[in-house]
Symmetry: C2
Subunit: 147 residues, 2 copies
């Protein structure tokens, strides 16, 4: 078992501002409605959520591929998290993972099936099971889209 | 609508290592099974998930308190995210938010009720609705526990 910590501080109302940091204060960054919904400097919850998902997905995919006999050389994943106004409030309407992997000798269809399963069943994927998530999975020069 | 990006890279199998970064490459940090499950240097998906939740919760709570006529001076929230072995795999079994707020003139019971609602209904709270989340909410010198 591991328990990991993070910290956020906010001062004021809607037009206030705050700071978010990881673990022992690493990566302290400002955040505000501007850094979340416009182009202000700093972080926002959506990129942190995407980073958590992409990081978890990569590690779980590497372990799963190794278990199936295909040790990956490299897995690169971009996460794109979208927040939109829905009804009276805001909602995270999708998180998309775009993965490119170098995995010797694997069949692309087998890779895509494994990657889709890992997206849904890695720890962060399970934690986000109420959220719409999608995946584009690619091997080397082959590209295939999986929803 | 806003779409935010993050990136993760992994090299090798279970004993491999990677890097996670936010947005335009901010906060690039190493990660590995050691930084996730032991005490190795770097980040892990759980602290990123907790940071996303605490940051979203604080901003949403500030806006909600302002809407109710109580502009907060300061909201501080620690997130603790636990990952455990469950059956054959790992699972995020809980995320706990521990909040202390300075909010002039609010009744503590009213504050706790608002904070609990915001935990469940802020954008990241909704995205995590399949996950067990808990909240300790405190005002100034008054302390109360809400599950």
């Amino acid at each position: 078992m591991a328990t990991r910590t993070a910290y956020a501080m906010w001062q004021g109302g809607l037009k206030g501002q705050g700071e978010i940091s990881l673990g022992d204060g690493r990566c302290a960054q400002p955040y505000s409605a501007s850094s979340r919904f416009e182009s202000g400097p700093g972080t926002n919850p959506e990129e942190l959520l995407g980073a958590a998902f992409a990081g978890c997905f990569n590690m779980a995919l590497a372990v799963r591929l190794q278990d199936e006999g295909f040790v990956p050389q490299r897995i690169s994943t971009d996460a794109s998290t979208t927040i939109e106004k829905v009804g009276g409030g805001f909602e995270i309407t999708s998180i998309h993972l775009d993965t490119v992997a170098s995995v010797p000798d694997i069949d692309v269809d087998q890779f895509i099936a494994i990657a889709e399963d890992v997206k849904n069943n890695c720890p962060v994927g399970k934690a986000l099971s109420a959220t719409h998530t999608t995946l584009s999975a690619n091997i080397a020069d082959q590209a295939r889209l999986s929803e």
